[in-house]
Structures are given as C-alpha cells and as structure tokens.
C-alpha cells in the first residue's frame, strides 16, 4: 500500500514563500527594466492650452514633453527653433550632453544623428542655417524646465542646439537665449540616459519626434 505523503505545515509555508519570492523577482526585473513605468505621460489632446500655436511636443523614450515657446522674449531664437521643429530636423537627434538632474542638451544636427553619430565631433555640429544673434536682454527667469539655445563661449553663435534645465539656474539669466519652458513632462526628461563620469553620453537617448501642436 502506498502511503500518501502529506506536506507538513512548515513545508507549505516554505512553498508559498518561494512562490511569492519568484513572483517578486520576476516582477522586479520588469519594473527595473522599464524605467518609464512610474513616469506620467501627457497627451496634449487632453490639455487645454491658452496659446496653442506656441506649443511644441517633444517625444522621447518615456513619453511627451510639452513645451511652451516664448516668441515675445526671443523672437529670432524661437523663429529658428520653430523652423527646425517644423522641418523635422530634430527627429532622431541625440541628447548628447546630459548632466543628471541638471540639464539635457540636444540638437547637433550634423554629428548627433541616429545611425551617423560622430563621438569625436558631437556637440560641434551646425545646422547649415548659420548662427543667430543672442537674445539675452529681455527678462527671463531660468527656473527648472526652461529651454534655452546653446552656444559657444561667444555670444551670437546660437544655431540648432538647445538645452532644457532640470533645476533652477539663476546664472543662466542674461547668458543664454531662452526659447520656452516645459509645461508638462519634466520627469520624463530626468529619465534620459546620463553617465556618472561624463557629460557626454556613450550610446545616448534620441529625440523620437519634435512637433508643433498646430
């Protein structure tokens, strides 16, 4: 006669514990892998904007970043920025300079393009449209989420590169041409790939799309 083996109470507890541990391990693997899991994505169609013609939607790996542009503050800078957005020039362009919780920078159209990255020259590329004059005289507070045009050490060298700051930077005021401010999605920008030891990023994240709302 075969004797039926019945699991003891403690064995049942161990089994349940192992099953829970397995579920947790499996679940955590996906949670950690999906860096966008706890980041809220914004659908611009569900938002009412006061001035929809100056709204730009930057789409990156974790979702949409909604930016309001300020043509009254920097008319030429914003005009250049909108031109590049409307011509889809920023699509598949790298966030080549990222400082964790400080700023993200993109817009090197020449050396920052997906599939044609040039690590030796990234950050020095031009748009081919020529440089524009700095617009730094109008009052603008560089609070977190502000979008500005990058330049070389000299003024009047703005072109296509832009940065978005992730913390307040009062020293940027009067230094860089402001073009707008992030209305929604700043947390999404904090998920853009950064490197601990360098501002310049190996295998960087890219802009998926950048479009005007209208």
């Amino acid at each position: 006669m075969i004797k039926k083996i019945v699991a003891s109470r403690s064995e049942k507890i161990i089994l349940i514990f192992l099953i829970i541990l397995g579920i947790l391990t499996f679940g955590t693997y996906f949670v950690i892998k999906n860096e966008c899991l706890f980041v809220k994505n914004f659908n611009p169609k569900n938002i009412n904007f006061k001035d929809s013609k100056n709204i730009a939607i930057l789409n990156v790996s974790c979702g949409n970043v909604i930016i309001e542009l300020y043509p009254n503050v920097s008319p030429n800078g914003v005009a250049r920025f909108i031109h590049l957005i409307r011509t889809n020039a920023y699509e598949n362009i790298a966030f080549h300079r990222v400082i964790k919780n400080k700023l993200v920078q993109a817009g090197d159209l020449k050396f920052g393009k997906k599939g044609a990255l040039d690590y030796r020259k990234i950050g020095t590329g031009k748009s081919g449209l020529g440089t524009i004059k700095s617009e730094i005289d109008n009052k603008f507070s560089y609070t977190k989420g502000s979008v500005g045009l990058a330049r070389t050490f000299k003024n009047d060298t703005e072109d296509s590169q832009f940065f978005i700051i992730l913390q307040d930077e009062p020293l940027f005021e009067g230094e860089y041409t402001p073009v707008g401010k992030v209305l929604y999605g700043l947390e999404i920008l904090k998920k853009i790939k950064n490197q601990r030891n360098s501002e310049y990023i190996l295998r960087p994240d890219f802009i998926n799309t950048f479009k005007m709302l209208d």
């Binding site: 400082i99 964790k100 400080k102 050490f153 020293l171 230094e175 490197q195 030891n197 360098s198 310049y200």
Partner: protein, 245 residues
Amino acid sequence: MNLLRAILLLILFITPLKANTIYNIIKIPNLEIYEINTKNKLKYFYATAPFRLGIQKNIVCSNSNKKDLEKKYKIIYKNLSRYSHGYLKKINLKYIVMCENLSISELYTAGIPDNIMKTLIIDIKFNEDYFERIIHHEVFHIIYLQHKKIFNDKDWIKFNSPKFKYAECSTCTKKISLEKYDKTQGFFSEYSKSTASEDMAEVYSHMIYLKKEEIDQISKLDPILNNKISYIKSKIKRIDDSFTF
C-alpha cells in the same frame, strides 16, 4: 588608427564630470556664488579652494578666509557699482572672481581680465594702498581687450616725448611702482612707463579714482597727461556716450 580612436573616446568618456554651473559658464573651478543680485547685474564669485587655469596651468589663485572676503567684497562692490549695467554690457564684464595670491607664471598680479569669458579675477590681498584704484585699472584692461580697434598704441605713444620708450612687456621691467607721482611729467606712476596699454590703464584708473578737480588740475599742468586724459575720455565716449568720469 582604430586603437587611437578607441583611446580618444575612452579619454573623452572618463573625463571627470564637473557639473558645476559656474565652471560651465566661465571655466574656472572651485568657485561659489558670493553675490549675484546686484543692481548692475555683476555676479560675484569666490574661490572655495585653490585653482589653476590656462593651457599650461600657469595661472594660480587661492581661496580666502571669510573675514577678508567680507571686507574686500565691500570695497570691490562699492567701486564697481559706479558702472551701469549698460556700460558693463558694452565692455563685456559680467563676472568677478575673488581669490588671493593671484599669479601668472609665478609673477604676482592684481587682476586677470578675460573679456571673452566676461570675467575679471581680482586678488583681494593685493597691496591695500592701491587696491581700489587697481580695480579700475583692471576694468580698463577688459575695455581695451574688448575694444582693441578703438585704442591705438601707436597714436598713444606719440603723446610721449620722442626720447621715451616703453618696455617690451609689462613684466619685463622693474618700473612697477603704482605710487602716484607728485610731479607727473606725462605719467601718473612708474608702472605707467611699462607699456602703452598699462599707461592707458593707469590714466583711466586715476581718472576714475581721483576727484574731478584733481584731474582738471593735472590736465592744466601736464600737457602730455592732458592729451592722454582727453584720448581716454573720447574713446570711452565712443564705447558708451552716457558714461561720465
């Protein structure tokens, strides 16, 4: 070739991250904000630790103690407050760095102007007797660098007696006293005799520092300095018509 590229990339990506806003803007390490909310929008920084600059790291300056900084900041602030935001913008001066024992290639100096980075580094431990005036002397160097086309050394040299010759450079002479001559004879100080641009800076700084009556009196008595003063006045007017000495 590929190995060389790999090494270059490796160097690029393991360069230490200096995620400091001040460093990103003016490329000077170890600085903190001292005061940035000023009427003429000058931003004052101070060194928290010694720093080295330049391709050969030949510019050196040390941090100061809090008490010295407080004392000298007041003096620097008072003197630089006479310049409007508009004027500072035209001469391209925005950042003041305060540190001590400033030297270039082991030669001590009162200040280092950098018009490209809109920065003036000031040694707060520089000779107390001339400290205030020297602030304006260094401001002139920023002006001179920013508006090189306006100032002409050859025209300036013509103001002096034909027998007089400046030194080859400001550091290749022993004429370095900053004490104002009682009897000027074309020069405000011994240091004025070092180079044309140093002479201009001495004239400018005295025009700012001395009372108008004193400058008028010197102009009356010294025809060479009268020409030099008129020259500086006219050139500064070209840069900013609203500026008054």
